[in-house]
Symmetry: D2
Subunit: 222 residues, 4 copies
């Protein structure tokens, strides 16, 4: 049985930039090594290279454009994040939604570049739709719970079980992360027991006074 | 065996507004009556009401927002197009793409309002994704063929058969339209033989000197 | 001295569709006739034609695309709203924001079609920017006050005076509306005294139990 | 008389990533030192830090979001690009257009962070609008000439003189760059003679076999 994957999204939080990004990455690496639980980190584009150089954690972009390299100013190509050391990318986070054709193109570009795709979705049916695009992961996050202190595991376990069932009906090879309000080992245990392969979280670690303490609690029931 | 459905998108073509919209609707109604082939028309929002009043054809909106009624300026609700006499709506046309969450919300709003949803897609994988949202129709249109004189039936039959297979693997209840370059009875015959339930077309009828002649040719092999 | 112009945005409020749209238009027409104050109404696209047919009020679209007629599904052209009887259109409302190039194209398309443009802005500097595009009106609405019960006249008179000054420095021919929270004759009097040419409002009329009573109060100090 | 500023946009060209980005930056630095002409470079987000560390050239982001740091996944804050060593950012490039309110917020965020803003525009009136937002530079680029071999200096000098006049009427403190098709010292000389303060260019340098030769030609008439 594979251990659940914990992916930490630093967003554009002040507490997740500069030296703080390094502190969180260092704490995550230490807890990953102590526990054997795989932990990844999704910093700003500018921090992909420094964090991938200094830490052994897998590093993810927060967004990627599926477009080919070329005359596209301000876009982020899969090849460019790969060169910066990324292992994969979030796609279609609820704070950076893109069109269906763009999600498809981004998943395809990541696959062709040898990178891992994590497509975010907001409910059971969009999770199933995302699974049809054959990404590595679908990450279901009910938008109304993102950034809150009540986790999806507690508030809406049905959306997790519904997503697991719907995603696997469409594409049994896709793994499932769940997110929104995840803040403790108990949240992760519930999510795992409901059939998911890990969690996507942000504020509970990034805004913590002591991220390492939160991280140790997160892995405590795995 | 159900006859294929022909849906005519008037876009914002000059040749599809004002009196011309009425002419095309009238011609379509006549050909539908002569042939027994179901024909629908998707005019501008402003023409939904007049065309639904004057003709017996089903009338579709070209786009709908899934959002609830409320403080949303310039949006188009499912309830509002229903009040204007619409039978359904296109969703996510390649000239009006929206996010995955918005497509899902639009399909849901149409369903709850008793209207028919036609979700447009650009390739096999996005067609499968659209099917997971449980619309009435998925309309596959390779963008590079839209508006051209070579039909998808002739240029890319594999995308049609691939879509039929992929959509039905995800959701056997979803019907499939195909579009892009459709201009003759022969195009429709091929599309039908490949397993689709009709076609979505625009310029070949709208920009024709004699739309009725094109329409008669379109139904000639059904 | 010209009387202030009152423009009522029906948004997609349930209370502003169907028969209710007619009731509000009828009440607005009556109050306009009683008072001599010019009142306009911005209904859904589908209601442009019916309201422009049945009432003598100027009718505005809530949004318009600047693009030329052609292969643009789900778009709204200036020519199409003109054919539906519109006198003008809102552009760039805070609930339907568009790019700078799109605002410019919309203003230009409205002007070339003989329609009135009302470009919405969110602060003093974007008001000045909008004025540089030479629309008929700039409508300044601080987004945080939209839909509330405290009017911009009371909460933030500085933004009104700042806008009047900045807009006229750039383009003295542009008239200024102000909106957000406008709900009484007193709000309009303050806005007028500060140098504006009218108001843009929505919920205070649309969601009122008796729109005509609110409308009579709105014109009471003019 | 200040020498014209040359800003090289690497876009997402393959020829502008990885080692090639370093080669172009090295060539630009050498030519800047030889000629005394100020040259800047706008690489991918991921290359901001490496290029700002290894070269003395000013480095610009290709896009920045005006939003405050916080729960915004995949966004690029002014503070984050400053930490990566950026001197400034392009805003609203025609390949990455944003709303008027977003342009205003980006210019404001750059100013508050001590960074230089270069707002791109597509014609005379949007240039004047951009100037009203008080950026450091407005960069006028007729979209139809971008990426081509005919420069705006030759094809449309009127748009340059019109922009200079309109921008300075709104805000005399704003400097003007011009772009689209710029590929030689002659193009820059014409642009300077018409009253601009420099040029924005991309393909002519990035896709050159020998960027240093193109750069030497670009500065040859200054």
């Amino acid at each position: 049985m594979e251990k659940p994957f914990i992916l930490i999204n630093l967003k554009t939080y002040t507490e997740g930039t500069g030296q703080r990004a390094h502190n969180i990455a260092g704490a995550a690496q230490q807890v990953a090594e102590e526990s054997g639980v795989p932990i990844g980190i999704a910093p700003s584009y500018m921090n992909l290279h420094p964090l991938s150089m200094h830490y052994s954690l897998p590093v993810y972009a927060q967004h990627v454009d599926g477009a080919e390299p070329g005359a596209r100013t301000g876009h982020v190509t899969a090849e460019a994040i790969r060169q910066a050391g990324a292992t994969g990318s979030l796609v279609n986070h609820s704070e950076r939604r893109i069109t269906l054709a763009e999600i498809d193109a981004a998943v395809r570009a990541l696959r062709e570049t040898g990178l891992i795709s994590v497509v975010c979705s907001n409910n059971v049916s969009t999770s199933a739709a995302a699974a049809a695009l054959n990404p590595d992961y679908v990450a279901i996050e009910p938008p109304e719970l993102i950034g809150g202190t009540v986790s999806v595991s507690q508030a809406n376990p049905e959306i997790i079980t519904g997503t697991v069932k719907a995603v696997h009906a469409v594409n049994p090879g896709v793994k499932i992360l769940t997110g929104a309000g995840i803040h403790s080992g108990e949240c992760i245990k519930i999510a795992s027991d409901l059939g998911t392969h890990g969690v996507l979280l942000a504020s509970s670690v990034v805004k913590a006074k002591a991220p390492i303490a939160v991280l140790r609690d997160l892995v405590s029931k795995i």
